[in-house]
Symmetry: C2
Subunit: 342 residues, 2 copies
DNA sequence: CCGAATTTTGAATACGTATTCAAAATAGAT
DNA sequence: ATCTATTTTGAATACGTATTCAAAATTCGG
């Protein structure tokens, strides 16, 4: 005896052909109702919709995309999804793309540079675009994408020669403003606990920060590159503070790094901000939590995602559009980890 | 003048037909090479692979799925992606599914119960299965999925009548063991700051916890339902501790809740664990951070995801398989937020 | 070297839709 | 009622692949 119940596992989903038959029209007309909604008489439209409802018909996305050459799918490749900043990014991307009918194919990567093999599957699935967060695309990957007519956009990174659009927070400007603020608060000796060296993020921030220091003729800047993790921040701060006690202020490459820095500092006996000031970057939600009233730079998250999606759509609709690089501003959020020094 | 550069936007991707022509064979043979790898002579295979490489040919997933009736796509609907526990879950799902050739379509939802309209798009795209984390499927949605032959699996939830597979941590057992541990540590008055009431998660834990208390003839248990957020935990603890100072221990529905609880408690002047003990649930990575040395229940994350994927594949390959509900154990992780009371 | 068994191959077809083109139906003007 | 302009319709086709079926090529045993 077969398994009971009404569900018949052999039954195929209803097709537009089935609907057409039930409604007494041609398949073409059914298609018109579900595609453009082009000219079709009210009478038949109603019949078709009724038939479709009865059969629980829904258009087949694969068949449709075969003919329209639009898959309505976008790939997203993320590093660091465990960082709350990027969890939020993902959520917002979905919130923006879903109403437009786009599906989001999620991919994880550990790599600083996304290579061809990592996008191969997305190519087979003919995504219309690829969003890459916190990482770069290799030259090979970029070339392949371009040749396949697939739009790609870097989120929170940019690269000069790469011929690839990007949306990011203007780290140069941000670092300048942060540095200015810190100097005006009376700080003179600095450390920068950053993310990986040679990424645009780190380079730009360093440049902006150093520029201000140079103008003010301040020389004390220790640079410690690492990764964007709590552990990295913790370790770096521990080393820094035990070997050199004369740091006024630590500028961190991300909030998560800053949390590690704060915990390490406190563990070594430093009070924040009395003994050492700390500044973060991102303004993640956690900073509302009491142990971490971190002064930080807020990235305009929502706007960055909005711009990215706009750019994406624009390039999808005009494959000849030249790549654009959009820098967004952000703002300093002052909480309680920077002291006023006399 | 048109935009310069070699990329020709009108160029279509190479098809198996193109490859066939270049290699001097039939389209069918090309297909055989890329599909099953079925019988095809070494000589021709080589020719075909060379031609394919030259044309940068890759099979078209949509066309393929049309004929094979396998889309190699799985949908995942997540609540609470901002909770680090679930960020980790997502990452692991991708890590498990990618090597199997499955693409993961990410969806976000705020809802406790996923309704039909939220899965409609996934149905159009013919995903082979849907994973739902931390939420339930409505009856309508479940019925629709079943009728469309789409597998669905609840992750970290379960429901009796729903005829839907589930993988979750055995909350009943966990709560029992936690309660036993707490009682043996000398605690007598308890609060349970939980997630939403009426979810299996909360119900099971409450049942297990209460059972132990009943056995030991302990009556003091205050129950405060909320959501799985820091803010909810913070607020609940604040209320609880200002109105009733005689709580030995607070059992929290998730680690994130517990972090809010701890911060609130400290703010009100309670030391942890000297004045009040706190226990969490999940064992998120953040617990390695110094301010939060939380004793908690570790969910066997990796194993849970592994089981979910196994179940998924099994049901995809045998649509008649009866739904299974798998409860996994986990273990108590003792850190430093529960005191030994005399 | 021959016949049988086996492997390899290509022509044809199906998957489910959108679109083109010409025919049919309708509306509109007189 | 007649003729024209417009709207609505269906037959046919294309999208790019996997698979079936029968024919062609190869291998094998003696």
């Amino acid at each position: 005896m077969k398994s009971a119940g009404k569900s018949n596992p052999e039954k195929r989903n209803a097709t537009s052909e089935d609907v057409a038959q039930l409604a007494g029209v041609s398949q073409a007309t059914v298609s018109r109702v579900f595609a453009g909604g082009a000219n079709v008489s009210e009478k038949k439209r109603k019949k078709i919709l009724d038939a479709a409802a009865e059969l629980e018909y829904k258009p087949n996305a694969q068949a449709r995309s075969l003919i329209t050459r639009k898959t309505m799918m976008v790939g997203i490749i993320m590093r660091n999804i465990k960082d709350p900043f990027y969890s939020a990014v993902l959520e917002i991307f979905h919130t923006r793309l879903a109403p437009l009918g786009y599906q989001l194919i999620f991919n994880n990567s550990e790599n600083e540079i996304i290579e061809e093999w990592e996008i191969a599957k997305l190519l087979e699935f003919n995504v219309e675009g690829i969003i890459v967060t916190d990482a770069l695309l290799s030259e090979g990957a970029t070339r392949k994408l371009k040749r396949s007519g697939i739009v790609s956009i870097l989120f929170n990174r940019h690269a000069e020669g790469l011929n690839c659009s990007a949306v990011y927070c203007d780290n140069y400007l941000a670092a300048q403003q942060i540095a200015t603020y810190l100097v005006e608060m009376g700080h003179r000796t600095f450390a920068f606990i950053s993310g990986p060296r040679n990424t645009s993020t780190t380079v730009d921030r360093l440049k902006g920060f150093q520029e201000v220091l140079r103008e003010r003729n301040i020389k004390e800047l220790t640079i410690i590159p690492g990764t964007y993790t709590y552990e990295s921040g913790f370790k770096s701060a521990q080393e820094l503070l035990t070997r050199n006690k004369k740091i006024d202020c630590i500028f961190c490459g991300s909030d998560i790094i800053a949390l590690g820095v704060m915990d390490a500092a406190r563990l070594v006996g430093f009070r924040i901000p009395e003994d050492v000031s700390v500044v973060g970057f991102d303004n993640i939600r956690m900073l509302g939590w009491t142990p971490y009233p971190l002064t930080t730079w807020e990235q305009p998250l929502e706007e960055m995602v909005t711009s990215t999606v706009e750019l994406l759509l624009k390039e999808i609709n005009d494959k000849n559009a030249a790549p654009r690089i959009i820098a967004m501003k952000g703002r300093l959020v002052i909480r309680n980890t920077v002291r006023k020094k006399k």
